[in-house]
Subunit: 142 residues, 2 copies
């Protein structure tokens, strides 16, 4: 009697995350966005003009992931990347007009995703909080 993937929490997390990105696909594809790009835009809609490292801190991604991602978004006309004149090491990421306009074009996305999950708002919030707690526990044990 061996444990199979279906019994493992890690697999539930892994496969549900895949299903989540698949659920976002029909919502984001018409906008020409991938899920990580949508996350970056969501971060910038809240707080524009961040440094690459600050975005990484919020999204828990390294620069080796963010730099190419941001370059693709720059090529797509969603953001600009400019070296800070005060400190030439830093790169500031700003939304373009098109990047800002995307917020309205994507206004229906959260609702669409919520429906896809089949969860109520309280259930969603509870699951989110459990996941966040578990994530922080795992991150602390470095």
């Amino acid at each position: 009697m061996t444990i199979s993937p279906a019994d493992m929490l890690c697999f539930s997390l892994y496969s549900t995350q895949h299903a989540m990105q698949a659920a976002y696909k029909p919502l984001l594809e018409p906008l020409g966005l991938t899920y990580p790009q949508y996350l970056v835009l969501s971060a910038l809609w809240s707080n524009d003009g961040r440094k690459v490292g600050e975005l990484g801190g919020e999204l828990l991604l390294e620069t080796n992931t963010l730099t190419p991602l941001l370059k693709r978004m720059e090529a797509a006309g969603l953001v600009t990347r400019k070296r800070d004149s005060r400190d030439e090491r830093q790169v500031r990421v700003h939304l373009t007009e098109e990047g800002r306009a995307m917020q309205d074009r994507a206004a229906h996305v959260p609702e669409g995703f919520l429906r896809a999950t089949g969860l109520s708002i309280p259930q969603l919030a509870a699951l989110r909080d459990q996941l966040n707690t578990m994530r922080e526990t795992m991150r602390a044990k470095t």
Copy 2:
């Protein structure tokens, strides 16, 4: 007042899955395994000699992911891939001696991951079931 990634369930799922793989890394790296490779082995330990498509059905991965993954595992000496003589379209995946031996070498991994999560067994099972339910709901809405 715009929603930021920290408030979004999707981001909790996304970032917790990354943290999960990071938590597995110190457990799997000494064995020379990646997390998806560990999943494939877990599936085969339960049920060896599966077809590529059957593994994909259990792990919810497509052949365009599994084929290169299995080839790397074959190169690493963990599995063999053989065309079925009955039906040459099918490829059977079998554990090698080394692949079977890995089950003992990895015996401490579940315990190590459980500790990293900081969850009790009942909490883990409850979270797993919530995630599975949500995943199946999302997958059904294709």
